[in-house]
């Protein structure tokens, strides 16, 4: 392990509460964070440091669990334990609440925009995944409710290029969905984790997924026939165990460099790099950098800067956001 993860900046984002999630906007000029204080905060760069540009306090009645930027960067969606999802529209430096999506029976755990910008997916403790369509008049309509999981759904994520959705659940499984005949269906169920799957991320090519779990492992999954008609077949081609001391809450695959980063309940952040000479059906990942006390409490989220390779944002139960630079020894 010769590479390093260097701290660039650290600041308190959500005073006296957990910061659950942090997300870069598509141009990486802003970040949005959310937390147990029921607020969403928008951050912008002022010289060398990050400053809070706006606090969206009145959108939700309970914890805001996740925020997601639309691909065009004009809209922000927020998912809350109050069972709703808010859609915010950027107006100069501020955001105004456009609409509130209701329907889930209890806590919404995740919201995510499809790369096309026309679809949104949400998931909830009510075990369902909802797909929403947005039209040119900013009208949102639920087009499908999918009930493939038997427990709390923790996360939904879209494929980077295809109209394909994946979800991670408390039932220890991952489901992959495709649209067939105007209806979304679960086309594959990935079993293998021994406990709750907290997060999922697609690799830059979209051929593989990495998942992380309460079972303290990371799994890499590869698909034969991801685009084709008929069933997809996913196989677990690699399991990273023995690296994380506690639950792994988040994982992110860098679109620019291919590096994998995890957020762990042992307060650590770890970067894994793939061995370029390994058999693609038996990939080998090694720990390239590790900060054991990235925060003084659990790390909940990791997000690669979409424009600047090697730059990473993390957030924690201690309410902080930290920015890191991953320095590859070979650069």
């Amino acid at each position: 392990m010769k590479d390093a993860l260097v701290l660039v900046e650290r600041f308190n984002a959500h005073p006296d509460s957990r910061c659950w999630h942090v997300a870069w906007n598509p141009t990486a000029t802003l970040m949005a964070s959310c937390g147990g204080d029921r607020a969403i905060r928008i951050w912008g760069k002022e010289g060398d440091s990050w400053k809070c540009l706006s606090v969206l306090q009145d959108g939700h009645q309970r914890t805001v669990r996740r925020v997601a930027w639309s691909p065009c960067g004009t809209y922000l969606a927020s998912a809350s334990f109050d069972a709703t999802t808010c859609i915010w529209k950027k107006k100069n430096d501020d955001f105004e609440c456009l609409t509130t999506l209701e329907g889930h029976e209890n806590e919404v755990k995740c919201v995510t925009w499809a790369p096309s910008g026309n679809l949104l997916a949400t998931c909830s403790r009510d075990k369902s995944v909802w797909v929403w369509e947005v039209d040119e008049e900013d009208e949102y309509e639920c087009v499908t409710v999918i009930n493939s999981h038997t427990q709390d759904v923790k996360l939904v994520v879209w494929h980077p290029t295809l109209e394909l959705l994946a979800s991670a659940s408390y039932d220890n499984n991952i489901c992959v969905y495709k649209e067939e005949d105007d209806d979304w269906e679960c086309k594959a169920t990935l079993e293998g984790h021994a406990s709750t799957v907290w997060s999922l991320t697609f690799d830059p090519s979209g051929q593989r997924m990495a998942s992380c779990s309460d079972d303290r492992t990371v799994k890499i999954w590869k698909c034969q026939n991801i685009e084709g008609p008929g069933d997809m077949s996913w196989k677990c081609v690699c399991t990273l165990s023995g690296f994380h001391e506690r639950s792994v809450y988040d994982i992110a695959w860098c679109r620019l460099t291919g590096a994998l980063v995890t957020a762990c309940g042992d307060d650590g952040v770890r970067v894994f790099k793939e061995d370029p000479s390994a058999d693609p059906d038996q990939p080998v990942f090694s720990l390239a950098a590790h900060v054991s006390k990235a925060h003084s409490q659990d790390v909940n989220c990791v997000a690669w800067n979409p424009k600047e390779g090697g730059v990473l944002a993390t957030c924690s139960d201690n309410g902080e956001i930290a920015i890191w630079k991953y320095q590859d020894d070979h650069e």
Partner: protein, 131 residues
């Protein structure tokens, strides 16, 4: 490094938690005992606390409620840096695994504490006695 002191510190926090249904503390009902607390050192001046409690009744929701009370009170009252694992002691419950999973899922715990009815019960149970 003496873990017994730490274990006693932890036990002192949980012994006076009131049972959600009966007018007794968890200690009085033997739901928790001194020996049900284990403390292990973690790197960086932090400690792993493992608690195994025995609910009096095989009622699932009561066991998760007790687990929630333990989580909340320890999070609030322990003065030293810690990670927490709370389990229903083996053989005391038919759906142990389910209960243990729920109690140790911090997202589920956080959401439960935002439910006003559940929160009210928990606050009553963890409230320090007035004497």
């Amino acid at each position: 490094m003496n873990m017994e002191e730490k274990e006693l510190e932890v036990y002192d926090v949980i012994r006076s938690i009131r049972d959600p249904e009966k007018p007794n503390t968890l200690e009085e009902l033997d739901v928790v005992t001194e020996s049900c607390v284990e403390v292990r050192p973690l790197p960086g001046d932090e400690y792993l606390i493992i608690i195994k409690f025995s609910p009096t009744v095989p009622h699932c929701s009561l066991a998760t409620l007790i687990g929630l009370c333990l989580q909340v009170k320890l999070q609030r009252c322990l003065p030293f840096k810690h990670k927490l694992e709370i389990y229903v002691s083996e053989g005391t419950h038919s759906t142990e695994e389910d209960i243990n999973k729920q109690i140790n899922d911090k997202e589920r715990v956080a959401a439960a504490m935002e439910n006003p009815d559940l929160r009210e019960i928990v606050e009553q149970c963890v409230m320090e006695p007035d004497y």
